[in-house]
Amino acid sequence: MREYIRLGGTLCIIAAVATLLLAVAEHVTSERIAAIALAAEIKAMQDVLLGVDGVDEDTATVMPQEDDSIVSSITRFESNEGYVYAVNVNPVGYGGPIEIMVGVNSNLEVIGVSVIDSSGETPGLGSRVAEAEYTDKFIGKKKGVAVVKRDAGENQVVALTGATISSKAVGKGIKKAIEAAEEAMTIEKN
């Protein structure tokens, strides 16, 4: 019996010391980690709204949204061209969620796409969805945009060779972003 108490007690002490050290590390790093995530999001918003004339950053308003596993936030800005929306979406790609910021104007057209995190995708293949060469193809696309393997129609984009799953995930995210912006507009009108 005494043996068990000694073993358990020793483990308890080790665990307590480890917990203490972890608490200190968490305390030191938590603010920085939160700041880095926020900075990445703000940078992406600026990127996707770059082409819009006179975006007023002080008018950022977080819009209401329906529960959705893909859309994580919708932010509205006022500009000289009317309302514009920055929608953060997380569609599931080949190796986990891909985080994308999508800029949508009030005509529900895509005005900018910035891939924030595609680290789960295969390097050299799926990871290329983050490059402007691919994301720029979505600019000007409208509701119902789709990614196809070949012969893209008017509202379609051709997937990257060897990266169909990643390409389609990005397309799905952008499609959802447009729908989310539309939803936010209608909720507000009512």
């Binding site: 483990l11 480890a18 920085r32």
Partner: protein
């Protein structure tokens, strides 16, 4: 034990990656670029040194029956600290290494050193052993990653080597290419070791 012998054994004679073949999963997964390989190697080195230090320091206080459980707590604690520090200060690297940093907890290189060295030796020797084994892993990862990145992407540490006309063999950065290149490197090393028989 002489410090220099500990260093040599970690770097060459008992190199964890090339000789002991420990921790193969993260080895193959993080060597798709030199930057990732180096980051992973240095993270492993940091954890190894801290874990060896702590385990060696408490080796006489921890009863034999619960030593594995105690090691797990110590190692997991240090890995989590490294993970948090990377997230806060090197966010790019943390993103590209992803799940493989938390997985250092179950990396058998670290367990092997805790069990076979740190639990039996003085604190200073254990730290040197952690450094040696860690640098052994780092060197090995950088070598494998160099081959894979140059062949598979035409770059080294992100620097373009051959200009835009080079068509990279993407397979080298994918898992199958990783196995093949790792196998070829191991073969090459064994060939050299057998030729210089005295060192085997």
């Amino acid at each position: 034990m002489k410090k220099i012998d500990i260093l040599r054994s970690g770097l060459f004679k008992e190199n964890p990656t090339f000789v002991q073949l420990l921790g193969m999963c993260p080895t193959l997964a993080t060597t798709s670029s030199v930057k990732n390989g180096l980051g992973m190697g240095l993270s492993v080195t940091a954890v190894l040194m801290c874990a060896n230090l702590a385990i060696s320091a408490i080796r006489k206080l921890v009863p034999d029956k619960i030593r594995i459980a105690a090691y797990v707590i110590v190692i997991a604690g240090f890995v989590t600290i490294v993970d948090l520090l990377l997230k806060a200060f090197l966010p790019e690297l943390s993103k590209s290494l992803g799940i493989f940093i938390p997985l250092i907890v179950v990396n058998c290189v670290i367990f092997a050193r805790a069990e076979s060295f740190a639990s039996k030796n003085k604190v200073t020797d254990s730290i040197v052993d952690g450094l040696a084994m860690g640098l052994g892993v780092t060197g090995a990862l950088v070598i494998i990653a160099s081959f894979r990145e140059i062949i598979g992407n035409g770059t080294w540490f992100g620097l373009s080597l051959f200009g835009s006309s080079y068509q990279p063999a993407i397979m080298a950065v994918l898992p199958p290419g990783g196995f093949i290149i790792f196998g070829l490197i191991l073969g090459g090393i064994n060939l050299i070791r057998l030729r210089g028989k005295a060192d085997v």
